[in-house]
């Protein structure tokens, strides 16, 4: 009997996790291919298209995700978890597939508006998916192992990011650069439909969550989950404590560890893109099992100590870790031992003012080996404008290739950042599920989760850059490269204080007994 139950539980986890992973995959490929999407659908010389592009970037994550949490959370609490997260999967997969088919702006001028709509649907679907999957698994799992079983759902966001990068890199490797830019970028979007169909078939075979099915049979489902979740003080105060005491901090730690770190390595440290992405990929793979470790550990020692420890570690370690990454890659402090000119290419490009004329662009690549084993690659581009002898100001792009030892040190540091993520994120699904009663659980847990992640987390790059700009003064015109970290540090510290003082173990946990 126990074996059958476990088998059923693992099939529930497999089906739920696969669908959620696909949703994250769909959400991330849009982000990862943002540059090419922008070129194809949002031409910068068209102000309306540029306006829609900004709206697509900001609105999808910040407004629509919490809104999706409300819309689908309500549905999930009224008609059931299974059908609701099946719907979110269809919406997400269908819209992703549609992007792959959409003609570009050059042939269809309505494309920017459609892309914006599709992105909004994606955000809406993502807002509804996570709460459903977490609730569904938690309601199948035994109360004393909820942390362990729901932690599988927690791995999907990281794995979705990993799979999206893997598919894109594979497409880029298999196809020529021209083919990828021309049509190959559509493949990751089109592939989504295959994954979604597989997931739908699996999910259709699943049954409604036993706790919700029991509630429905007894006629105890909520007729107005929104009113009960946010209109009653007893529940609203728990929503607020979940948001300000847990998910707000978790969101910034998650985004800093997985996305800000990537931007920092590429933009502030100027590390070679392939090397930086590989370091992040390896660190993500090594750290992912810790979602399950901390989920399981939370069943034994409680959710709160692990999540709060993760927040505290992030607050304490962010500046030293990012500082070490910056120092290691700081070109100004490196001693160059040899310089070698690799190649000089020259090509003709049409003149911007007069297309009948051509400019000459000369590109010189120089490699500089440093005493610590790292290699600086400098690409100097000079443009000789048609009809003029003198060239304009040369543009120099620098990238750094780390030595093997330094590469592993960066992997170790990114691993530490993701490790903090696993601490705060691993037990959080079980914590949120246990905080709210079954009949309004989907609605109540989805909103704080998506505000924490979508708003507080999603704003890490924007506010980080803003603070960095503030740090530029007349005495230090280049600014403090670590200044952007004050936002995640501040939010995580605030969340830690609120969490330590106000988060308590939910009373509902002990009352629930699952009948499978």
């Amino acid at each position: 009997m126990q074996t059958t139950n476990n088998k059923r539980l693992y099939s529930v986890i497999g089906a739920s996790s696969l669908g959620t992973l696909i949703e994250w995959y769909d959400f991330y490929i849009f982000g990862s291919l943002a540059t090419i999407i922008s070129e194809k659908f949002f031409p910068p010389d068209n102000p309306t298209a540029a306006f829609l592009a900004t709206l697509a970037t900001f609105a999808a994550g910040f407004i629509v995700r919490p809104f999706g949490a409300i819309v689908f959370g309500r549905l999930g609490d009224m008609i059931g978890r299974k059908h609701t997260f099946l719907l979110t999967l269809v919406l997400m997969g269908g819209s992703t597939f549609f992007i792959g088919l959409l003609p570009s702006y050059a042939t269809f001028s309505g494309a920017p508006l459609l892309v914006l709509l599709i992105r909004l649907i994606q955000g809406l679907a993502l807002g509804g998916e996570y709460g459903g999957a977490a609730t569904y698994v938690a309601e199948y799992a035994p109360a004393n192992k909820r942390g362990y079983f729901t932690s599988w759902i927690q791995t999907t966001a990281t794995m979705g990011l990993f799979v999206s990068l893997l598919v894109i890199i594979t497409c880029q490797k298999v196809l020529s650069k021209e083919d990828f830019n021309d049509w190959g970028w559509r493949l990751p979007f089109l592939l989504s439909i295959v994954l979604v169909i597989v997931s739908i078939v699996i999910r259709l075979k699943m049954q409604e969550s036993p706790l919700f099915a029991k509630l429905k049979k007894e006629g105890k489902t909520s007729s107005n989950p929104l009113k009960e979740s946010f209109g009653k003080k007893k529940n609203l105060k728990m929503v607020l404590v979940a948001l300000f005491g847990v998910t707000m901090g978790q969101g910034v730690v998650w985004y800093t560890g997985q996305f800000y770190a990537q931007t920092f390595l590429l933009k502030n440290c100027n590390i070679d893109a392939t090397q930086a992405n590989t370091c992040i990929g390896i660190a993500l793979l090594i750290a992912t099992p810790f979602f399950i470790v901390f989920g399981a550990l939370s069943d034994k020692i409680g959710r709160k100590p692990i999540m709060m420890a993760g927040l505290l570690l992030a607050v304490i370690c962010y500046r030293p870790i990012f500082g070490a990454m910056y120092d290691m890659s700081n070109i100004k402090t490196k001693t160059i031992v040899s310089t070698k000119e690799l190649k000089t290419d020259s090509k003709l490009v049409p003149n911007k003012q007069d297309s009948f004329l051509t400019d000459e662009v000369e590109e010189t690549t120089t490699s500089k080996t440093c005493s610590d084993g790292s290699v600086i690659t400098e690409v100097k581009t000079e443009t000789y404008v048609a009809g003029k002898n003198a060239s304009g100001k040369p543009v120099i792009k620098t990238s750094l290739l780390l030595s093997d030892v330094q590469r592993w040190m960066v992997i170790g540091m990114v691993f530490a950042l993701v490790f903090f993520v696993t601490m705060v994120y691993g037990p959080i699904a079980a914590y949120l599920v246990e905080l709210f009663p079954i009949h309004i659980r989907y609605t109540s847990m989805s909103l704080p989760y998506h505000i924490g992640n979508g708003v507080f987390g999603g704003l890490v790059p924007f506010i980080g850059t803003l603070i960095f700009e503030y740090s530029k003064t007349s005495t230090n015109p280049s600014g403090d490269p670590l200044a952007g970290l004050w936002y995640p540090i501040g939010i995580a510290a605030l969340c830690f204080i609120i969490g330590c003082l106000y988060v308590t173990k939910p009373k509902e946990v002990k009352k629930e007994r699952i009948i499978i």
Binding site: P47, F51, L55, L236, K237, V241, V455, T504
Partner: protein, 71 residues
């Protein structure tokens, strides 16, 4: 511990309006400096999404102050 929870409630209660005022001021000065869609659109979205969150923080502070989170 309950006393600390209640006293800090005042801080959360005041932090809400302070956050709205700060964001409003920032948005105003940024948009005035560069009134283009790349600047004003993100700021409008940020201010409109953070305002209800800041109200929520004040409400949280009020609940803390009135002892709703006491053990």
């Amino acid at each position: 511990m309950n006393a600390i929870r209640r006293i800090l409630g005042i801080v959360w209660l005041l932090l809400g309006p302070a956050a709205i005022a700060f964001l409003g001021y920032e948005a105003y000065s940024r948009i005035n400096a560069h009134p283009v869609s790349d600047v004003y659109l993100p700021w409008i979205i940020i201010v409109s999404i953070f305002t209800p969150i800041a109200i929520g923080l004040s409400l949280f502070g009020f609940y803390a102050l009135t002892g709703e989170y006491d053990k």
